[in-house]
């Protein structure tokens, strides 16, 4: 007992000596600086009052945010409301809503051929079809994969890595891999020739090129959404499943009555994120098909890029107007996402 007491009395305090010395040194260095800063800060506080002083501290961040977020939006509006091919705003004539009018001048929005700027509407419809198919297939497959990977299967860690791996690849690498596989003398055709089925010129057929673009995009991004859904599945309490097992509920009933309802907040987040990402699709499909054949895989972001930067003359106004229209759609989707997130956070 005495020994124990003695040991307890002799035990050193749990404060490491080195950090304390470092802190001391740091304070020695910083104190004079702080004293110098304190003088104008106190004067500022007296002048502005303590509440307004918060804005002074926020100012650097606000300036950066304004410079890199608000200013580009303002510039975008400025370009969208001016015409011509000049880069400098001072050299561009004000045209009001003319660019928006040019883009939306259509006899029948369902038929791009009846639109003045048919390329824009082809891109819009391609994007809508692409987003519908890609998001639907991707969320479905992600859910399926997440459910399988959530089970006690052999080499589960390996399969999780396999499904996530494409997410780590650069979009251009993804496009080049699949182009290499699907081109006329590609791997797939070589295999089909070998089996006797015979190859096909996939990249020249508009429907196939579109279909493969959807497939490629699903392949490249599915892992990310699988991971989110997997986290959602693991957050569902085990005891709910145990209770269902005791009640002898069938697996389908368990999925329908327990898994899906409890996973729906996560599913909604995944859905909205996938929608936003789908509307923004550009790089991998552009590197994969260049937007062809014809305009079969030209999506809205590629249209903006080509009008503003790749074409001649560079129609910055038209590109800016189209990008503001896309921004409007993305803002709506983002608001939906925020609403969904808040709703799920509040239970």
């Amino acid at each position: 007992m005495a020994e124990t007491t003695g040991q307890g009395a002799a035990a050193p305090a749990p404060t490491p000596a080195t950090p304390a010395r470092t802190d001391g040194l740091f304070l020695c260095l910083i104190s004079p600086v702080m004293r110098v800063i304190e003088i104008p800060m106190l004067a500022l506080q007296r002048m502005l009052g303590i509440h307004r002083l918060a804005w002074v501290f926020l100012l650097p961040n606000l300036l950066l945010f304004g410079l890199f977020a608000f200013l580009p939006v303002i510039l975008n509006v400025a370009y969208a409301t001016t015409g011509g091919a000049n880069v400098l705003l001072a050299d561009r004539p004000y045209v009001g809503a003319e660019n928006f009018g040019f883009l939306t001048d259509c006899a029948n929005y369902l038929d791009p051929n009846s639109c003045r700027e048919d390329k824009f509407w082809r891109a819009v419809w391609n994007t809508l079809w692409f987003v519908t198919l890609q998001v639907g297939i991707m969320v479905g497959f992600s859910l399926l994969t997440a459910i399988v990977l959530n089970r006690e299967i052999r080499a589960r860690g390996f399969f999780r890595a396999v499904f996530f791996f494409p997410v780590l690849l650069s979009p251009v690498v993804v496009a080049l891999i699949w182009k290499w596989i699907l081109q006329r003398e590609g791997v797939l055709n070589a295999f089909l020739d070998w089996t006797g089925v015979g190859g096909y010129n996939w990249m020249v057929d508009a429907d196939w090129a579109f279909g493969w673009s959807v497939f490629l995009s699903v392949w490249a991004h599915m892992g990310f959404y699988t991971l989110i859904l997997l986290a959602g599945l693991q957050a569902i309490p085990r005891d709910v499943y145990e209770a269902a097992t005791m009640d002898r509920a069938s697996p389908w009933r368990v999925f329908r009555r327990i898994t899906l309802p409890l996973l729906s907040p996560t599913m909604l987040v995944v859905l909205v994120l996938a929608l936003i990402k789908g509307v923004q699709t550009f790089d991998e499909v552009y590197a994969f098909t260049g937007g062809g054949p014809g305009t079969a895989t030209t999506f809205i972001i590629q249209y903006i890029y080509e009008e503003g930067f790749a074409g001649a003359p560079r129609l910055f106004g038209l590109a800016a107007a189209a990008s503001l229209m896309v921004a409007g759609v993305l803002v709506v989707l983002t608001l939906v996402q925020l609403w969904v997130s808040r709703r799920s956070a509040n239970g």
Binding site: N86, N201, V204, G291, G292, G294, A296, Q302, A312
Partner: protein, 418 residues
């Protein structure tokens, strides 16, 4: 004390160095082969003759010349000089070399090609046409020989070549009878041979008369005469050539241009015999290729206009121009150099023969093609041609709709350019 001495010495050194640094000329250059390397080499002679002048050759990808240079120039941050292909399109930024050069020598040497760099009332001396190119056809002579089919003659039409190429491809099991680069510039010669005017009565860009060629070309893509992969597998106005198919022996007739000779020479080698047959004739009577190429221009925003003009004038001198043409294996635009003939360095007999054939074809260039190459709006027209013709090939638009859309696109582009 030592620090003060060091600072003083540095300031003095910087002060002394300032005049030399002030004479640095940035030359933005892209290469189809070895052009920038050769310019860098010959310009050391200019530097030796002009102490204190340093011409820095910045080698950039062609894409940078097409996409970045115009933005840099608009923003006032461009180089002093550059090698460009949008000859008339960048005219507003060009430095007029006239006050610094012997204009008589330039007129005699480059004649009407100087007009390619002139737009509207800016009629000065702006560019040294360093690479003259012309579009024309490469033919796989070995395949014709294997098929036992005679090659059409020099006055053969596009239809004659289409029939012959199809027959050769069928007899030899070659996948593609014909191909033409996916480029508005490349189809311009054939289109003119089919009656395309490219200009209206006021001299403005127009797609008047483009329909017959569009119909023929779309038909050839549908019936497999032309390799559908080249035009139909891309979107937008993206450039796509078929050189690799020709080099791989998968193509009988390949319509491209003189700049491909070096590539054919080095990559085909002894694998098969190839030859240049120029441009076939069309129903409008013309057998025209499309001239083109690249030129070296100075920019008004340079701080050293005299030096920039001197550098360009140095490269325009007959002996230097002839040396560069020979070393880079490019057709000369310089009249005296062309008439003297160029012995292209390191070129095989086939390449030498091909370049000679292309040079001979320059005589058949239609005046419309010559004017179209110098038209400031040609780049817009090239892009429109590719986009709309591709849509007709894949069936998104009928030929008539595609040609009508081309006219509308051009009107919109011209309105924006105003």
């Amino acid at each position: 004390m030592n620090h003060w001495k060091l600072l003083g010495t540095t300031a003095l050194a910087l002060g002394l160095a300032a005049p030399a640094m002030a004479q640095e000329i940035r030359f933005m250059c892209y290469s189809d082969g070895n052009e920038c390397e050769v310019y860098d080499d010959v310009l050391t002679r200019f530097e030796a003759a002009n102490p204190g002048v340093d011409v820095v050759v910045d080698v950039v990808p062609y894409q940078a010349i097409l996409e970045n240079l115009p933005v840099q120039l608009a923003a006032g941050t461009g180089p002093d000089m550059a090698k460009v292909t949008d000859l008339g399109g960048l005219n507003q930024y060009y430095l007029d070399l006239a006050p610094h050069i012997d204009t008589g020598y330039w007129d005699a040497s480059f004649g009407p090609i100087l007009n390619w760099y002139r737009v509207g009332d800016r009629q000065g001396y702006y560019g040294l046409h360093s690479q003259l190119t012309i579009t024309g056809a490469f033919v796989n002579a070995t395949l014709f020989e294997q098929a036992g089919i005679a090659m059409p003659g020099s006055t053969a039409t596009w239809d004659d070549w289409a029939a012959a190429s199809r027959a050769v491809a069928e007899a030899t099991g070659t996948p593609f009878p014909m191909a033409i680069d996916r480029s508005g510039h490349r189809v311009a010669g054939p289109a003119i041979s089919y009656g395309a005017q490219y200009f209206d009565a006021e001299g403005n860009g127009s797609f008047e008369g483009f329909g017959p060629f569009a119909a023929a070309f779309v038909g050839w893509n549908e019936d497999g005469t032309f390799a559908r992969d080249v035009w139909a597998s891309q979107g937008g106005a993206t450039y796509q050539d078929a050189a690799q198919e020709f080099i791989n022996g998968q193509l009988v007739f390949y319509y491209s241009g003189s700049w491909q000779v070096g590539r054919m020479d080095s990559q085909v080698g002894d694998l098969f015999d190839w030859q240049v047959v120029g441009s076939p004739c069309g129903p409008a009577g013309a057998c025209s290729g499309m001239p083109g190429g690249a030129g070296i221009v100075g920019f008004e925003q340079t701080q050293h206009p005299e030096i920039v003009a001197a550098v360009i004038d140095f490269l325009a001198q007959e002996d230097i121009y002839a040396e560069v043409a020979a070393r880079t294996r490019n057709l000369p635009a310089h009249a005296a150099v062309a008439s003297a003939g160029v012995q292209f360095e390191g070129a095989s007999p086939a390449a030498q023969e091909a370049l000679t054939a292309f040079a001979a074809d320059l005589a058949d260039v239609s005046p419309i093609a010559f004017a179209y190459q110098g038209y400031a709006g040609n780049r817009a027209m090239f892009g429109i041609t590719v986009e709309r013709l591709s849509q007709a090939i894949v069936g998104e638009l009928s030929v008539d709709d595609a040609v009508a859309r081309m006219g509308e696109d051009l009107a919109a582009a011209m309105a924006a350019s105003q």
